[in-house]
Amino acid sequence: MGQGKSQFSEAELEDYQDLTYFTKKEILYAHNHFQKLAPEKVGHNPNAKLPMDKLLTLPELRANPFADRICQVFSSSKDGDCTFEDFLDMMSVFSEAAPKTVKTAYAFRIYDFDGDEYLDRSDLTQVVCRLIGGRHVTEPSQLVADLRMSSSDVDILVSKILEEADLDDDGRLAYAEFDHVMSKAPDFANSFLIRL
């Protein structure tokens, strides 16, 4: 493990193990992974903060349509730049050991693009567009080629979501409603999973 092991004391590893859903071995592996992004920077400073575009080159995040939002949610400074502890937090939530409630909570925050603690139509529209077109598509008009969908169609889809999930009929999804839907979803825990 070399340099990685000397970075952390036994007590720190214990702490990390208590605070996340990882074992010591997995924590060290995660650190190794993180360090490969910028070895000199991370090697000296345990609290080194890596910029978002560096993080988006990670194999786990590079193909993900919500990767930037993930980084923003987990970043302690809310601007997308993550320290190792933020990264560890992120991976721990996405691990297999994390319970469904934790995943649901974070999923809600990830999908809430404007941060107002409600999933309203604009959030949902962006979710749909990103699912079809990838990270850089935030509007139906940006959908191109054979994955084209008109904005009226996207609206129909968003209306369907609200019709299904919005229980109190206020035109947006609160966390309680989102949680209710996700509790019935059989595959959610399996898809909201990143294996390091």
Partner: protein
């Protein structure tokens, strides 16, 4: 076993070597109370095996292969099939006493226990699935949410997979949009015009018609192939029908013939049949002139190869013509012909020379015969017995040494002066085969027999492949939504598969329980299979087991063929060779359709359950087959098919598949149960032979139990128990259903209440907003007012809002 070691059976065993199926002579009652019919069955199977071993090596291997494919030969009398198990009781010493272990009872109990166990396991799984389904029927309503929030697989880490995933999600969205549009269209359609309302009825009738057509086809094919097999088998067992010719020649030209030669008796199996010497029924008299040339005539008779031919002929001596004197030797030659088989057969023959007693003149004569120096043995009577070997003509000569004729009446014709000798007649040495009917078993080529044996199974599997395609096309006309389409097609295919299996079983029952040939009596304990009914199947349970075994093997073969030839070819053609053409696209576009593959597996399991009773090791074979099928389908999925562009909600369909499995199980219980309770087990094999029905074994067991258990069990079977139980169970079922529907209604009500709560919340928030706005306005007004009239103090006021504003 009191049946083995019986002399009778040894004799018939030898005879059996020349024929393929044993014709049981009517045996005298044997000490075994269940008859000894299992001995000839075993003997038949073993004898067939021995026939195979006598073939050259290449043919042997080919034959062994056929045996494995058909379950005959080596496999027939093996633990795989029912016929191997015997009616034994094993005695085990246990302390001071011996305990008995009855094999038949063990067999029956093991089967019943297995079925009960399967039923319990499946019902539990089905209940779990049903509970999941009921609990999350709202899961039906969350399809789009699940797709959007849980649709992206976060494990995806490269762009290529990401593109595939994007496309899959896009397709799902399009499907939902289409469903939405379809629903709107349907609503508008139902409001505007009544489209052809009978289309559903019509399509269902059509589907029913197709299924009935499939029945008829299976029935016809089964009948046809059984008929062909019966012909082949009957001809094999009846022996080679060959014509043998023998020629009668006279060799001595210088003598005077007897004027007539009475019938030559040919003995077949020691029972004599007589026939004319010449072709047809004409006698030919030998004339002296004609006597100078040797006259060859042929005489034909249809005989079987196992027949023993003995010749007896009476010669008529005309006292007028023949002169005997004491010195003249009378030569007589008789020839006994033995058919050319490779085994020695002890044969008796008689050659008798009988003076013609039709002369009115009583003649006393004494004839003494002395055999010649060949290996003839003289008996006490004037009979000569000769042992002969096959193929050789045995010539008997007897020379009368002395002849004394005394006349007792005066009308005796005086002796002639000339001594004449009788002529010698010889039946030609050896019987030559002149013709042979092509009805021997070898002439129906074993490959053709294989085809006929597999024809019913092949038809069923072909129907199972092609008719669902037809169903898929038909269901498009009905314009249901996609989930309904899926379920309906699944149900129809299941009905087709189960029904065709049912038809096959019914056909099997009809053909094996009846004798193949007409006018065959039912086998009894003392007459296992009558001699004329050579086509009778001695052990029908093994036959049924073999049919299901063949179905299983064929299923495996078809799966492998489908994957490795059809799909692989399609992939090569569609995805590589003709990649750019639209034809190539359509041909190569294969996806891994889960419902079809699950149905295949359910079908294999159904076969296993059906065959389990008659082929006890069939579950083991099915286990191996399923392992192979898994790897074959894995190859198919990963190599042949493209990436699936559809999500598949496997979790929800699990309950559907388990319920299909349960339905199949219940449907298979019916024929198996019927055969246990109602059909007579065959006399020749199995642990239940001699009983009226397999269930009587159980009845016998219950009768052996103490009195009170018997009365309890009988009570359980009476109507007095059954009717109240049924009523109670129905009431309980209805109660649970009522509770469930009430709960669902409650859920709906609560959802409505939630909406109302939401409206209330909105209303209150609006009121609060209004209130705050008004307070702020008043506050501002007051401040402006206060600035203008700075000396006016607010003071007390009745207006609450002003007080609030003041206190702030």
């Amino acid at each position: 076993d009191p049946c083995v070691g019986d002399e009778l059976f040894n004799g018939t065993e030898r005879l059996a070597r020349s024929s393929s199926l044993l014709a049981m002579p009517s045996a005298p009652p044997t000490p075994s109370p269940f008859g000894c019919c299992h001995v000839p069955y075993r003997a038949t199977v073993q004898q067939r095996l021995r026939l195979v071993q006598e073939l050259p090596l290449k043919d042997q291997i080919f034959d062994y292969l056929l045996q494995v494919l058909q379950g005959t030969g080596l496999l027939e009398y093996s633990p795989i099939f029912y016929g191997f198990y015997t009616k034994e009781t094993i005695y085990v010493p246990w302390g001071d006493t011996t305990k008995s272990y009855e094999l038949p009872l063990a067999y029956l109990s093991a089967m019943l226990f297995l079925m009960a166990f399967c039923l319990v396991v499946m019902v539990r799984k089905a209940a779990q699935g049903l509970r999941e389904n009921l609990r999350s029927t709202e899961g039906e309503f969350y399809q789009v949410c699940n797709l959007i929030f849980g649709g992206w697989d976060f494990c995806v880490d490269n762009n290529k997979a990401a593109r595939v995933k994007h496309r899959a999600i896009y397709n799902e969205f399009c499907r939902h949009l289409d469903a939405e549009r379809f629903r709107e269209e349907k609503e508008m359609r139902s409001r505007k015009e009544r489209s052809f309302p009978y289309i559903h009825l019509l399509i269902n009738v059509l589907v029913l018609g197709i299924i009935v057509g499939a029945f008829v086809m299976v029935w016809y094919v089964t009948t046809f192939s059984f008929g062909q097999l019966r012909l082949a088998q009957a001809s094999v067992t009846a022996g080679n029908n060959a014509s043998y010719a023998s020629a009668l020649t006279s060799s001595n030209s210088s003598r005077e013939f007897l004027d007539s030669y009475s019938e030559v008796t040919f003995g077949i199996n020691n029972s004599h049949a007589t026939g004319p010497i010449f072709v047809g029924s004409e006698h030919v008299t030998f004339t002296p002139e004609a006597a100078s040339n040797a006259a060859d005539t042929t005489w034909r008779s249809v005989m079987t190869s196992q027949d023993v031919v003995s010749a007896e002929y009476d010669t008529a001596f005309d006292a007028d013509d023949v002169v005997y004197d004491t010195q003249t030797p009378i030569d007589a030659v008789g020839v006994v012909i033995v058919p050319d088989t490779s085994n020695a057969v002890l044969v008796e023959s008689q050659v008798e020379f009988v003076p013609d007693s039709s002369n009115a003149v009583p003649v006393e004569s004494q004839i003494e015969f002395v055999p010649d120096t060949s290996s003839a043995v003289q008996d006490e009577s004037d009979q000569l017995r000769v042992a002969s070997t096959s193929g050789a003509a045995q010539v008997l000569r007897s020379t009368p040494v002395a002849r004394l004729v005394t006349a007792s009446s005066s009308s005796f014709t005086p002796l002639l002066t000339n001594a004449k000798t009788t002529s010698a007649f010889s039946v030609d040495e050896g019987l030559e085969k002149v013709s042979e009917e092509p009805a021997s078993g070898d002439d129906l080529h074993p490959l053709l027999m294989l085809v006929y044996r597999y024809l019913p199974s092949a038809t069923i599997i072909a129907l199972n492949i092609f008719v669902p395609l037809l169903f898929n096309q038909l269901v498009l006309l009905e314009r249901y939504s996609t989930t309904v389409v899926l379920r309906l097609t699944l149900m129809r295919t299941v009905v087709l598969r189960l029904a065709s299996l049912g038809v096959l079983l019914y056909a099997l029952r009809s053909f094996t329980l009846r004798s193949y040939t007409v006018d065959c009596p039912t086998p009894s304990l003392h007459n296992c299979a009558s001699a004329n009914c050579k086509g009778q199947v001695l052990c029908w349970e093994t036959y049924v087991g073999q049919e299901l075994y063949k179905l299983t093997l064929l299923d495996l073969a078809v799966t492998a063929f489908n994957t490795f030839f059809v799909n692989l070819l399609r992939k090569v053609v569609g995805q590589h060779l003709l990649k750019r053409t639209s034809f190539g696209q359509r041909v190569g576009a294969m996806e891994f359709e889960i419902p079809k593959h699950v149905l295949d597996i359910v079908y294999g399991q159904t076969l296993c359950w059906l065959g389990m009773f008659y082929a006890p090791l069939l579950p083991l074979i099915t286990a191996f087959k399923l392992v192979l099928v898994f790897y074959i389908k894995y190859f198919d999925c990963s190599f042949n098919s493209r990436q699936s562009s559809q999500f598949y909600r496997t979790s929800r369909s699990n309950a559907l598949f388990i319920s299909i499995l349960l339905i199949s199980f219940i449907v298979t219980i019916i024929p198996v149960g019927y055969s246990i309770v109602d059909l007579t087990p065959s006399l020749g094999c199995g642990p239940f032979r001699g009983l009226d029905a397999i269930w009587t074994q159980m009845v016998n067991l219950i009768s052996a139990l103490p009195e009170w258990i018997q009365s309890v069990v009988f009570f359980l079977g009476t109507a007095g128990f059954a009717v109240p139980t049924i009523v109670l169970l129905s009431l309980a079922g209805y109660y649970y259903y009522a509770v469930a529907s009430a709960n669902q209604h409650l859920v709906l009500m609560l959802k409505g209440q939630l909406v109302l709560e939401g409206h209330d919340k909105q209303f209150l928030l609006n009121r609060l907003d209004l209130l705050i706005k008004r307070v702020n306005e008043d506050d501002d007004r007051r401040r402006r007012h206060h600035r203008r009239n700075s000396d006016v103090s607010p003071g007390a006021s009745n207006d609450i809002t002003l007080q609030i504003g003041a206190s702030r």
